[in-house]
């Protein structure tokens, strides 16, 4: 258990009166990759936000490296080496590309500074061409690269990507996948939410499927790929 990074235990989260998460258990270890799957509205984003303290679960606990972070502020949880790329991107539009990256720069939990401005530039050459552009001038793909680059500037141990390829042209999405694979190889743990089940399950060793705020599957990605029924039943479009 010593390499446990982030854990959610028995999480129940509500938006007003609507009960969204029904007692979810989640855990991720150092270096692990998890594909977090489920149809629209099943609670994937809510689970992530609950663990980061962006929304507060009504019951349950959140642990980071074994310590209780249930009531911690979002910034303190993030400082434990957790970087979050939200759905809808969330770049800072009034900052330039360079400023978006510099404002988040920080050493990792162990003081590591593997991800520098220059390394992010090497990883995302397209951002280099746009370095002094304002955030509002970027295409969707460039915005996504910027949010991922910005997350890496915090030298995280865990990178959470919520719908990183949503709405992107196939070629751009492929480029993002290539980069995510590269990041995985460096040993950063990742939680990836994405509609492209083939891509996520090939990048992540483990997979979780949520249905209506409950975990219906938690196992290896291989198992999912060997069971098309599972995908059809829980992830297929329609019912």
């Amino acid at each position: 258990m010593s390499n446990m990074l982030l854990e959610g235990r028995e999480l129940h989260t509500y938006y007003g009166a609507s009960h969204i998460l029904h007692g979810i258990d989640f855990h991720i270890r150092q270096g692990e990759g998890i594909a977090l799957m489920g149809r629209n509205g099943m609670g994937k984003s809510t689970l992530i936000k609950s663990m980061l303290g962006i929304v507060r679960p009504k019951h349950g606990r959140v642990l980071v490296r074994g310590d209780d972070y249930t009531k911690a502020t979002t910034y303190r949880t993030a400082q434990q080496g957790i970087a979050y790329v939200p759905e809808g991107r969330g770049i800072f539009k009034s900052l330039t590309v360079r400023e978006n990256l510099l404002m988040s720069a920080r050493a990792g939990v162990d003081g590591q500074r593997n991800w520098t401005f220059d390394r992010v530039m090497e990883t995302f050459p397209r951002l280099g061409e746009r370095i002094n552009n304002g955030g509002w001038q970027l295409s969707g793909g460039e915005q996504q690269m910027l949010t991922i680059g910005r997350a890496l500037m915090t030298n995280p141990d865990l990178l959470i990507l919520d719908e990183a390829t949503e709405g992107l042209a196939p070629l751009i999405a492929m480029e993002i996948w290539r980069i995510v694979k590269e990041i995985r190889k460096t040993g950063i743990a990742t939680v990836i939410v994405d509609k492209n089940h083939g891509a996520v399950t090939s990048i992540c060793d483990r997979a979780m499927i949520l249905v209506k705020g409950e975990v219906v599957f938690d196992g290896s990605s291989d198992e999912i790929r060997a069971n098309p029924d599972l995908i059809q039943k829980h992830l297929g479009v329609g019912h």
């Binding site: 962006i54 910034y75 800072f92 009034s94 400023e99 404002m103 988040s104």
Partner: protein, 288 residues
């Protein structure tokens, strides 16, 4: 209007506008970034003026009063943010208006208890006491030039902090998306506290600088508050550069209005505001 009069009025407009900028810049930041309507912001100007009076009486010099007053104002601002304003971020505007209006009354009462209800003068520091002779009869006080110079230096410093430092990047980012700033591991509450304390200190400094010119009197923050809100609206909520341009427009409109259109001088500033808002409903420079 002859040239010397014109020059004097121009310098007065600049000095008045720049002084208003010190007050309005904090107001627009707190409004734009933290979403708080702070009616008590004018009180910080009043408190600054009274600090100038009390501290310069005690130390013998306005310069010492300012040197002591600025850190006091910063501490006071940080304390207020911690004790009261941090509780207001998620409240609606009506509750903000109620609390901050209440604060005006509290501050005025404290002023009455701690000092008194009289009008007081504050001496100009001796080394700035001279005047520059423009013609045989017209001269311009060095002290007013010094105020303008201090304000220009501060405006440049503010520009540098907001545009060039990481703190400034975080402040602007907080304006775009507060939650995302936090999710990057940045303590946004601390940033808000710094911004608020800075706003209080700038308003208090404006009051300290103005004290020798306007003298020090009860409720002196009220007029400044209203004109500062006019500036925030003209400049665009949250825009410091908009506030600078708007403060200068208001400074010129008010000063020249009094000279050229004395019958309606009280209205000129508001007419300008109405004209700007018809032209640009969001203000001259919205956010940035």
């Amino acid at each position: 209007m002859d040239f010397a009069t014109f020059l004097i009025q121009t310098l007065n407009s600049l000095q008045y506008g720049l002084l208003l900028f010190l007050v309005a810049s904090g107001l627009t930041l707190v409004f734009g970034i933290m979403g708080i309507i702070n009616l008590a912001h004018g009180s910080f100007y009043m408190i600054g003026a009274y600090m100038a009076f009390v501290l310069s009486s005690a130390t013998g010099s306005l310069v010492w009063a300012i040197v002591l007053g600025i850190p006091l104002a910063l501490i006071f601002g940080a304390f207020l943010e911690w004790a009261l304003f941090s509780r207001l971020y998620k409240r609606d505007h009506l509750e903000q208006v109620l609390l901050t209006y209440g604060l005006i009354l509290v501050f005025e009462q404290l002023r009455s208890l701690l000092v008194d209800n009289d009008v007081h003068g504050v001496d100009i520091p001796a080394f700035l006491g001279a005047s520059i002779q423009l013609t045989d009869v017209l001269s311009y006080p060095v002290y007013r030039l010094a105020i303008s110079a201090v304000c220009i230096v501060l405006a440049v410093a503010l520009y540098f902090v907001i545009q060039r430092t990481r703190l400034g990047m975080m402040i602007r980012a907080g304006n775009d998306d507060r939650t995302m700033v936090e999710a990057l591991g940045i303590n946004i509450n601390m940033i808000y506290r710094v911004v608020f304390a800075l706003g209080v200190a700038l308003a208090a400094l404006a009051g300290m600088l103005a004290a020798p010119i306007s003298s020090v009197f009860p409720n002196m923050g009220g007029q400044v508050l209203i004109i500062s809100f006019v500036i925030v609206v003209i400049g665009g909520i949250g825009s410091v550069w908009g506030a600078l341009v708007a403060a200068l427009i208001v400074g010129f409109a008010d000063t020249f209005g009094k000279v050229l259109l004395p019958e309606i001088s009280g209205m000129v500033v508001y007419l300008v505001m109405a004209a700007v808002l018809l032209w640009r409903p969001e203000g001259i420079l919205k956010k940035g």
